[in-house]
Amino acid sequence: MKFRQLAAFGPLRGAAWALALGLLAGDPAAAQNTDWNQVAVPNYSPASVLQGLHQHWTLPRADDFARQAQGLPVAVKALCEAQAPAGQALAAARGQWQSTAHAWERLSAVAIGPLVARRSQRQIDFSPTRPGLIEKAIESGPGGAQAMERIGTPAKGLPALEWLLWTRPAAPGSAACRYAGEVALDVEREALALQREFQALAGADWPAAGPDKLAAGVGELVNQWVGGLERLRWAQIEKPLRAAKSKGGAPEWPRAASRQTAASWAAQWEALRSLGLATGGAQVPLPGQGLVPLETYLRGKGAPEVADALAAAGRQADLRLQKITRGPAPAAAAVLEAGRALARLKRVAEGEVAPALDVGMGFSDADGD
């Protein structure tokens, strides 16, 4: 099966190109060629790992998401106030949606801290969206935060806005456009709330944190990293293909209406890769001075074999993901191969990385069911 004919794999433009190129920004080959025996890797404490995570990864991404999300209501308002034909305003709103969605995916691919506590994914990225509920919501004409709280999550968030901008584009001056504006404001509110909470985490005195809090933080990082791998592998990549095979019809890819499927996968993989793999070659951060990927953390803890296994599985996943997120629409076999590579990476993470970091896997048998 080829996806060439499917709208989901549209050409990458603008921010999407930047994201795709971002896959190459950290060069796995450079890391592969690094002689780690010649590199002094600090023995990072859990506090420095979490400090690096929140100061150099979650907060910058939360800032970017907030910045993009703040542009969303502005762009939708411009669309609603535009004179017909509103092609330019619609294109601008769509572009802002894409930038916001990509910033969101780069933050949320690993659901840490407030993303879990606030149920942000459910709040603003519930999938699949429900057109029938969107139409009911348009009829009810909600205005303001309190009114939007009464709208069910399947009718709001980024997927609903995608529907209102691509599937059934809201016309200027229409009730649908006013509702799109409320949905955009709702996304903005969530983005700002996340930014505040990640600011608090970045500003926390991690070295003074107790051992339980530190263990919980590292445990959450490893568990949610694995959870993010599985979500990308199964929910985002493999399941649509397998479900289409057994049910018939075309795969229901995420972000299909906006033709951002490949860009969405690329954004999520970029997030996962940057947290897991050392892509900066011999450049390793000083404790508390930068993000410590899991691979680097393992090397610092004296577990080079596990770090090597993680890096090798990560490189394979990187190659497979690049095949399906760059260039022409991929073949089904390439998509499934990418899924298998992610599954292998997950097995290394669960079976080798977590034990080496003394982390219990919440997704394992031992967690119960």
Binding site: A111, V116, F126, R130, E238, G362, D365, D369
Partner: protein, 378 residues
């Protein structure tokens, strides 16, 4: 902890001796090798399949089918088929015919729904009941499905969250009912299974009318941090005769010491519902339960123990088995499965060697069940 060999003598006295000799040394008159419907993970990913006793004494994978994510609950269907449910929050059901002849049948969770890991077939074979979660509200549901097509006919609330296993109860005076374990643990299905707000835990056992889904009763344990997960009848429920229900528990206490000592078994007699203490630490987690003659077997993977209780919950014995979890009822005992080895606990003498599983490296998941063709309990 009692070793397997030392436990043998104790279990003989209970009528529950481990019987795990080589297939070639099986007592005369024993029928064809027992076959277990199981699910496991390995280098090839996750599989559902049949494990059968081999001549070398191992349990080997006789047939298997790959599944995309971890499977959990398993049903041996009356038509010879097998049904597997994705682990929660799951999105697939698989009906598979181990003997071949028909292609595997997949059913995907409806938009906004997730499977919670278990299913139940009605005795007439026409209806399939699945525990599910409404991903928007978090509420638990029973999905009522056509057993042939697996398509959903109806949804009933379970009056709780985190519903897990469910059983058929023919003993209700007003007609058949479903007994459902609401696990009560708030989770974040959209982020895997992150547990949150455990102070809001609300586990309960509910009885629903099997025809309408109407609530007929709801029961809770006093300790709100005990999640109700897996169920087994002590005998077959029949009209006017309510047997005891055994419920395997999962403790969610914040205090590790409290969690370690928490009970793993509760009993329900139709009116009273009580937890059963054990004199040893079972690490607060009973992963699976089945009835055995004169009692209950509970697989406790965190403790590496198969815990044996009397019918009334009186402590009997523990048998060591690394990562013990899956238990499958036999007429004379049960099969207990660990990560990569198993024990057959039953009548008679014999060695107490564990059965290894083949291929090596497979990790048995939480549940397995004996396939028809071998003696078994309900």
């Amino acid at each position: 902890m009692t070793s397997r060999r030392a436990a043998l003598g104790l279990l003989v006295g209970l009528g529950l001796a481990p019987w795990a000799g080589r297939a070639g040394a099986r007592p005369a008159g024993t029928a064809a090798p027992e076959r277990l419907l199981a699910t496991w993970g390995g280098d090839a990913g996750f599989e559902v399949g049949i494990l059968a006793a081999q001549a070398n004494g191992a349990l080997g994978a006789a047939q298997s089918v790959a599944v995309p994510t971890r499977a959990h609950g398993l049903l041996a269907l009356a038509d010879g088929g097998a049904l597997a449910v994705a682990r929660r929050p799951g999105d697939w059901l698989l009906r598979w015919w181990p003997q071949g002849g028909q292609p595997a049948q997949w059913q995907w969770a409806e938009p906004g729904r997730a499977f919670n890991g278990h299913a139940l077939a009605s005795p007439d074979g026409r209806t399939l009941y699945t525990t599910e979660t409404d991903l928007d509200s978090g509420a638990s549901l029973v999905g009522v499905r056509d057993a042939r097509s697996l398509a959903k006919r109806d949804e009933w609330p379970t009056f709780g969250i985190d519903a897990h296993e469910l059983l058929w109860d023919a003993s209700s005076p007003g007609g058949p009912s479903l007994v459902v374990a609401n696990g009560g643990v708030p989770t974040r299905p959209e982020t895997g299974r992150a547990k949150i707000d455990l102070d809001r835990m609300d586990a309960s056992l509910v009885r629903l009318d099997a025809a309408s889904g109407a609530l007929q009763g709801q029961w809770r344990l006093a300790d709100r941090r005990l999640s109700l997960r897996h169920l087994a009848w002590q005998g077959t429920p029949a009209a006017g005769q309510t047997p005891l229900l055994g419920i395997a528990l999962q403790a969610e206490h914040d205090d590790p010491a409290q969690k370690r000592q928490a009970p793993v078994l509760a009993l329900f007699d139709g009116a009273r519902f009580w937890p059963v203490p054990a004199p040893v630490s079972l690490a607060g987690y009973g992963g699976a339960i089945c009835a055995v003659p004169g009692g209950w077997a509970v697989g406790c993977p965190r403790a590496g123990i198969v815990a044996l209780f009397g019918v009334d919950g009186a402590w009997r014995e523990q048998v060591a088995l690394a990562h013990a979890c899956a238990v499958a009822a036999l007429d004379e005992g049960c099969w207990a499965g660990g990560d990569n080895e198993a024990l057959r606990l039953g009548h008679g003498a014999g060695g107490a060697q564990p059965r290894t599983m083949r291929p090596a490296g497979i990790r048995l998941d939480n549940h397995w069940t004996l396939l028809p063709g071998a003696p078994r309990r309900a």
